[in-house]
């Protein structure tokens, strides 16, 4: 019996401390709900998405990655006014993709992760727009320019957040 996909790169070498992971997720959800109260520009960064990508890239296990994404997405849905499951589906897919990519790509480089964040943000928004129109029958508009700009902003935010979270990684 063989695994479906054999990792092409080295095995998992470090992981985030559990307490740090929980704190980061809770903090991201809190800030996502709280920062817009202080500034209307604070909601341009999708902190739960950035945390999903970061944690999923570290675990290198698709099931774990999609579980993380589903949990974070459902929590984000619960704290929003939309139907529960919308962000859950999107972030489940994102977590799965990230974890699967770690099996075929070297994602330890910060630059690689930033590029990934840029692409995954675009994918996240496209999937969000698609689900809105198809599943919820809502007349959503996909603003390409704004989405591209926000993707860059989220990449920059990811650069700062990931460097900060790397301080709490533990060697395994």
């Amino acid at each position: 019996m063989q695994a479906a996909v054999r990792p092409l790169i080295e095995a998992e070498t470090s992981r985030l401390a559990p307490w740090a992971a929980v704190a980061a997720v809770v903090g991201a959800l809190l800030l996502q709900a709280y920062l817009p109260l202080l500034s209307s520009y604070a909601n341009v960064a999708d902190l739960p998405l950035l945390l999903t990508v970061y944690l999923a890239l570290l675990r290198r296990n698709p099931v774990t990655g999609l579980s993380l994404g589903m949990g974070i997405g459902l929590a984000q849905d619960s704290l929003s006014h939309g139907p529960v499951g919308l962000y859950g589906i999107i972030k489940t897919v994102i977590g799965y993709i990230c974890s699967s990519l770690t099996l075929v790509l070297a994602v330890e480089s910060l630059a690689t992760r930033i590029v990934l964040v840029y692409g995954l943000y675009l994918f996240h928004q496209a999937l969000f727009w698609l689900l809105q129109r198809v599943l919820l029958s809502q007349s959503a508009v996909f603003a390409w320019r704004r989405t591209l700009l926000l993707a860059g902003v989220n990449s920059l935010a990811a650069l700062l957040i990931y460097r900060f979270l790397d301080r709490f990684r533990e060697r395994t």
């Binding site: 809770v26 709280y34 099931v63 919308l86």
Partner: protein
Amino acid sequence: METFLARYRNVTVLALALFAQLLLLGYQVQGRQDVPLIRIWAVTAITPVARLLHGTQQLASSLWSRYIWLREAGLERERLRAELDRLKLENQALRNDLATAGRLEVLAGYQQKIPSRTLAASVIGAGANPNARVVFLDKGSGSGLRPGLGVITPDGIVGKIQAAYPGASLALLISDTQSAVGVVLEKSRAHGVLKGAGLHEARIEYVGLEEKVAAGEKVYTSGEDRIFPKGLLVGTISKAQPGREFQDLRVQPGARLNRLEEVLVILEGVHQDLPEDLPRPQPPVTLLPAPPPEAGGDLLGPAKPATSGSAYVPQTDADRLATRYRELGQSQGHTFGHGLPGSKPPDFNQGWSPPGRPAPVKAPPAAPLPQPPGI
């Protein structure tokens, strides 16, 4: 089957997860029902932390703004201080306006009350000579003022116009040593001359030692100076003691000479009576009732019987004599008070006869008098 699931375990889990969430979404969209349980769990778990975060943020913000970053507080303090100063000035100005309105109202009421024709004026300055008690008024010869006019307030007389200029005039206060005003004391009715004592006080001269004057007695103008009409309040006796030839009387002027603001200038003075509300010491007088009318005549003839209504009934001998004379005058066509000196008077013995003898000529009946006698 087991091999298939093991081979595609990740995709299978993904599909199950997505399918479960799609069902959840479909349940909410089709049934238009929410899933409150999940939201309650999430909110319950997040709320305490959010509250803690909010409290921390508030505390940090408060510490920062109240104790560290005090630039805005300083600016706010300066702004509030400037506003407070402005409000103080505004409040003072409003108080002054209110006081001025009150004084002008009193002045206008007094102006209407007194019979003299007056003109209101404001005090705009004092004289440059520290030894002279003068003030400048804002009305001058252009308003009809001229030297010699009296200046008063509702509280008492102030002085007189000494010089009139086109737009202003100079008034000499009664406290000036060169001022002199004829006055009369309220109770004793003694006359004197009010002269300034140089300060905010004046004295009364030429009041004899036999006059009973006490402190607290009011002083009015006598009208003898031809400046102030009679009956205006001057002030109150503050000190009374006998002098060498006359009494030494000090007067506290009723007008506040050191704080004059609005005054009245007397253009045409009209004398008025002194106030009659003063308690005059009068011993009780017991009068006997009038004597009953005599049935017969007397020396002046028969008394007129009392008639009903308002007809005149003489009560005393003098009244009867006057009535008798008037009747004689009317019967002889004589009017008392007319005629030149030396003209023939009426015959007062007409119709009179000694007791016991008949009258030689019967006098015509006298008409009743409509007016009391006033020869």
